[in-house]
Amino acid sequence: MIELRSIKPDFSRWPVGSVRRRIVVNEVFKSACIAIASLSVIVLLVLLGSILVEGAPALSWKFITGAPSPDPKNCGIGPVIMGSIWVCLGCAAIAVPLGVGTAIFMEEFPPRSTIARRFHEFVQLNITNLAGVPSIVYGILGLTAFANMFGLFGKPDEPAFELGAQHFRQYVTEGTEVVLIPIASPTDVPILVDSMTVETFDGKPIKLIVVAPGNELPQDASMLKKTLWSDAEGGLITKKPWYYLRLPFGRSILAASLTLMLVVLPVIIISTQEALRSVPKTLREGSLGLGSTPWQMVWNVTLPAAIPGIMTGTILSVSRAIGEAAPVLMLAGIVYITKSPRHLADDFAVLPIQIYYWAGQPIAQGDGINFQNLAAAGIIVLLAILLAFNALAIIIRQRTQRPLS
């Protein structure tokens, strides 16, 4: 309790004449409050303004769709946007079920025994603590647990286990065409036989002409395109379909998704818990009174009622994953990417890392677009994506909001 004695009127210390002074103090304080509170609005405007001014010259359709390049004038951000989308979707696909499941367990299945109550309290404290762990620590965990897998499967660059990889030996014919011979394992070397069927780079089958050393090559140019010396040496090429996976995950989209999942999981749990808590108790009691089991009550009554809140919180948490840079920096470092990712184990770059890389470049003297402009333009793209997410959350909140009690 606050001590009531401290606010007991003491007329000797508060003479009537001081009323005017106190009113003046109040007015001054109010003005100071308005000034200080407006400061954050000013800061936001200055921040957005300075970024717009710097980024606008670099922003164009070519920038949004093009690929990164060492030349700031022809630089784009297309594959990076795709990387961010892949990572964000992967993160949401794992974090949302886990987070919502945890929140349902914590809110809808109240502990009955003392041990269960202790467990509940411990988990709640643990979630609060997880929300306060610096994201770079999650980055270290992700690097060790997901990218390197504690070294259990060898080095991340040489995966011990691969799923869906098709290995080929690649040869260049005498007519400078590329042909591929499928092999079972990366170390196999096929024996070249005359008139064996091989694939072109596009996957079309052709018949190979193999010439032993010392013999003469065919003269015809179209024949020459299919001709190989029998002692020709080929390089290894691996085609990776969309379902390609490997262990350890390495510096891949999957590892980054899992790491960002760790970062956003506590946030999703806490926001879902709040959404579930806001469902009136009478709804639950009505459902239980009609004879439903706890899970039937959750599935048919509580979850449908809490879905708008859960989705709003989840979308906002996942949008945090898009802007999160430190864990991805730990995991993948700065990678130079020119192609959009094609499978979950592919290399990738995300928007905040690309912005970080550009922002760290030395400022070039002279005219034209420099890396600072590119960084600002990248920030505009990133903020636009985040704005879209927030707008989506607001729309969902307004569409589905209806009084429950």
Partner: protein
């Protein structure tokens, strides 16, 4: 939406059905399903506990590996005043320069964010004129949603050049001051919303009593509401400081890469998070002593933030003024 319709069954359109016509569900099947779902959900819950365990075990094991390497020791790490693991003939692993950098940045950030956040919170909670509130609330939400790398860029390309414009004020290109200010701006929304929650939790009748005794709004908020909400406000400050300590992207961009103990915030400094990020982005060999040093630094960082989160939690629970 199929689920939502179950909330409002259209009673008029469906004819009443006999109980016997309802699909029969075996009770045993329902019980099995019930316990299966409960186990599944418990598995989800255990996962979050496993994350904490994984962090603690990983950091301990790898930090022990670091301390077993030649040239490192626990006391040298905790009390050493030189940190140069990447350059130079002899490598020194004393974490104090990194801690000093972290404390400098946090102190600057808090001296920006604490007054601004608290006063904005008082304003929103106690004065709260509608028009300004309609501008302030979204502003703070937008500020809270902006990625940290954006603040880093802002510190590097706007705050530092502005500081350099001040005559007679020598500032390095990379400096702790601008990074600290940017981290402070970042922490304002966190502190403000937590402090506002604490102020809102103070019961209305306390305010009404103070008003009826003739207090002005200033008297009520400063002499009654703030003392009553003090535990919540302190815990908001602690949480804000925890965020500031763990902040990475701003400090790697704007504070620089030189670990040193200095009394001058205008020079280049490195924080604990900044060092980890520096090792991560560079091509440091995966098994050298400098690679394992990030685990030791991360362990120190984790313990520091864990202690602060825990402390904030305890303050909020223990020293909360219980009314009703």
């Amino acid at each position: 939406m199929a689920q939502a319709t179950t909330l409002e069954p259209e009673l008029s359109s469906s004819p009443p059905r006999l109980l016997a016509e309802l699909p029969f569900r075996s009770l045993r099947w329902i019980r099995v399903k019930e316990s299966f779902v409960k186990f599944l959900l418990m598995g989800c819950t255990l996962f979050s506990v496993m994350i904490t365990l994984a962090i603690i075990i990983l950091l301990t094991v790898e930090a022990v590996k670091f301390f077993r390497m030649p040239g490192t020791s626990v006391s040298g790490f905790l009390f050493g005043t030189r940190w140069n693991p990447l350059l130079g003939e002899t490598k020194h692993f004393g974490v104090l320069p990194l801690v000093s950098g972290t404390l400098w940045i946090t102190a600057i950030a808090m001296s920006v964010a604490m007054p601004l956040g608290l006063i904005t919170a008082i304003f929103l909670s106690e004065y709260s004129p509608r028009k300004l509130r309609a501008i302030l609330k979204p502003t703070l939400e937008i500020l809270a949603g902006i990625p940290t790398v954006v603040f880093g860029f802002f510190a590097l390309t706007f705050i530092t050049p502005m500081l350099r414009l001040i005559p007679g004020f020598q500032v390095d290109i990379y400096n702790a001051l601008s990074a600290g200010i940017a981290v402070g701006i970042l922490s304002i929304p966190t502190i403000c919303s937590l402090a506002e929650d604490a102020l809102q939790a103070v019961p209305r009748n306390l305010r009404e009593a103070a008003f009826s005794l003739g207090g002005t709004r200033f008297d009520v908020s400063v002499k009654v509401v703030i003392p009553a909400a003090l535990s919540g406000i302190v815990s908001a400050f602690l949480l804000g400081a925890t965020r500031a300590i763990g902040e990475t992207m701003i400090v790697t961009l704007a504070a620089g890469n030189r670990a040193r103990i200095s009394w001058d915030p205008r020079v280049e400094m490195q924080t604990m998070t900044g060092y980890i990020a520096q090792v991560a982005k560079g091509d440091v060999s995966n098994f050298g002593v400098e690679y394992y040093s990030i685990y030791a630094v991360a362990a120190a960082l984790f313990l520091l933030t864990l202690a602060m989160t825990f402390f904030g939690h305890v303050i909020r629970k223990r020293f909360r003024e219980a009314y009703e």
